[in-house]
């Protein structure tokens, strides 16, 4: 009771989704702060040995539900398992990835349990809350901090009375860190038939196509990103040339994607990917807060913009004031020269 639970998403090839491991890392630090245990839930098929992938993140207990009917994911059986497990175990906090699965499962479970859920949190902290009406003070609540209103404001949400306090977080927002490679927890293998009913299996996945991602923006050390100021798809070709030279990846703002300059799967920002490379070269990007939300954790930021007052310049380590059409070819040429 009163522990922290993380729903661990199982991907193709029986891997644990990166976002789930990031949440275990966050869950561990919250558990340390609150003095409770961290528990992980893995639901899928062929999960033999999955606990070994989870313990090193500081997991005290791994709940495994292993059945052929549980992969690929469908809503009802996973929701039935989580709802019953949470009713039995009474966690104080439950975390899920803000993925297609987490955003399908989380609200379903929160409705069953009548517990509040905050989507797409960018920060999770522990703190107190005073209910202004009743004057009641709550200690050690989960602050669920997220952008709202299209990313124009940041809201801190709490669930004072209902448990678990549920939150989803996007991939890449939290850092993933092994706590202790030798960390040992306890394994609980559950009897799936006690948790799901035949009518939970009425929605069936007939066919699936999952492609390898066309890029590695999530792990890239160097990202060259373009905004609306790149002007065209051809403008982006130059960014691909620079990125290739630097062994980096190309990203884009929503405005550039909407204008058709770059593919949607490379969008960085609040409604796209969250990245934290060593070096981020922002080209022709004005710096709307929705974009900055997805890249502000980058190590070094270079802004190339013809507008010396572009908002992104205020968070940049280097500001190059000039036209991208001039600056990018020069960066390419000088890099080639200096590394010959």
């Amino acid at each position: 009771m009163d522990n922290i639970f993380v729903y661990c998403e199982i991907t193709e090839g029986r891997n644990v989704a990166p976002v789930s491991l990031e949440l275990l890392t966050k869950g561990r630090s919250l558990a340390d702060r609150l003095g409770c245990a961290l528990e992980a839930v893995a639901i899928g098929s062929g999960l033999e040995g999955i606990e070994a992938d989870l313990y090193p993140y500081g997991v005290d207990r791994v709940h495994v539900f292993d059945d052929a009917a549980l992969f690929p994911y469908t809503t009802a059986p996973h929701a039935a398992i989580i709802t019953k497990l949470f009713t039995e175990e009474k966690p104080q906090i439950a975390l899920m990835g803000a993925t297609v699965i987490g955003r399908d499962l989380g609200p379903r479970v929160s409705s069953s349990l009548h517990s509040g859920l905050t989507a797409d949190c960018t920060s999770l902290e522990i703190g107190e809350y005073e209910d202004k009406k009743s004057g009641k003070v709550y200690e050690n609540l989960l602050y669920q901090i997220r952008p709202a209103f299209g990313g124009n404001i940041i809201a801190t949400i709490v669930n004072p009375d209902n448990r678990p306090q549920m939150a989803t977080v996007r991939e890449g927002v939290m850092k993933r860190e092994i706590r202790d490679a030798a960390y040992k927890g306890e394994l609980v293998r559950h009897d799936v038939s006690k948790y799901i009913a035949p009518e939970d299996l009425l929605v069936r996945v007939i066919e699936r196509h999952v492609e390898k991602p066309s890029h590695h923006l999530d792990t890239a050390n160097i990202i060259v990103a373009g905004g609306y100021g790149m002007g065209s798809r051809e403008g982006f070709d130059k960014l691909f040339e620079l990125a290739k030279l630097l062994h980096g990846e190309v990203g884009a703002t929503r405005a550039a994607v909407d204008a058709g300059f770059c593919d949607h799967d490379r969008q960085i920002g609040q409604t796209g990917l969250t990245v934290r490379p060593k070096l981020y070269i922002a080209c022709g990007i004005s710096g709307q807060i929705q974009h900055i939300a997805g890249m502000k954790e980058s190590g070094i930021i270079i802004s190339v913009n013809s507008d010396p007052d572009a908002p992104i310049n205020s968070i940049a380590d280097y500001v190059v004031t000039g036209r991208v059409e001039d600056v990018i070819p020069k960066l390419i040429a000088h890099y080639k020269n200096l590394t010959k």
Partner: protein, 268 residues
């Protein structure tokens, strides 16, 4: 095939994608008056899917449900201009301040009141909150299966629907029994335009407004009091400004920048 009763869930939202400088007040709160109110984009995609189902299955009806202030009746009318048959506006001070759970309670109460629907369709998420929670929560409250992130209806047979939906890094085909609740992605087909004849015929149509009492809802589960989540505080966004090195686009400046980045092992 027998005709279907189809419901569309739609929300009127401030257009957060085009936030101008006057959209935020000095104290960091939102100046709603400065933002145009629009039909939530993904709810438009949902409306189109509902109208396609109606086309596939003649004799079917499409009913739009929305919740909001008086002016949100525009959403019902907009739906009716494009081919929906009727709609309801949930409006009551007791509904105000609802989080997603209280919203889905209100909507599910209204859906129950209006009769049993075969297919309920909504947008995946609204652009003012981006939570994607109301669809699945309504499905849970009505005890229906759900399919989210739908991109296309592939087949409709007696008591069964086949859908293509987006998943991480790909797509999958899913078969679901009716009744069912679907949420539709922005990548699905765009909505058909208004029909001029329908606009003429319906521009003065009355939209039925329902209160908490009208849908037999429990006031304690509506609005702020029915919301487990509370907003502790709201901040305007400010980023830590850095001391930045500035340079021009001259060859000399770019060369020394690249040199510095190579020397400090940032690149190379």
């Amino acid at each position: 095939m027998k005709s279907l009763k189809i419901a569309v869930l739609a929300k009127q939202v401030p257009d957060t994608r085009n936030v101008g400088k006057d959209a935020m007040n000095e104290d960091g709160t939102i100046n709603r008056a400065a933002l145009p109110a629009i039909f939530n984009p993904e709810d438009m995609n949902a409306l189109e899917q509902a109208l396609r189902l109606k086309d596939m299955c003649p004799g079917s009806t499409v009913t739009v449900f929305t919740m909001g202030p008086e002016r949100a009746k525009e959403i019902v009318l907009e739906g009716m201009f494009r081919g929906a048959d009727t709609g309801y506006l949930l409006t009551d001070r007791l509904f105000a301040g609802a989080d997603t759970l209280a919203t889905s309670y209100a909507l599910s109460s209204a859906l129950r009141k209006a009769g049993s629907f075969d297919i309920i369709v909504g947008g995946r998420q609204a652009i003012d909150g981006d939570t994607a929670q109301v669809g699945p929560q309504v499905a849970q409250k009505l005890g229906l299966p759900q399919v989210t992130y739908v991109e296309e209806i592939l087949a409709l047979e007696e008591g069964k629907i086949t859908l293509r939906r987006a998943i991480t890094g790909g797509v999958e085909t899913v078969e679901a029994p009716l009744p069912v609740l679907l949420t539709v992605n922005g990548t699905a087909a765009a909505c058909r335009p208004r029909n001029a004849k329908l606009v003429m015929a319906r521009k003065k149509a009355e939209v039925t407004a329902w209160s908490v009492a009208d849908v037999d809802a429990d006031p304690a589960q509506c609005g702020l009091s029915g919301s487990p989540t509370k907003v502790k505080k709201v901040d305007s966004i400010s980023f830590q400004a850095k001391e930045s090195k500035r340079c021009t686009s001259s060859d000399e400046d770019i060369r020394s920048l690249v040199e510095e980045l190579i020397t400090n092992h940032t690149i190379g």
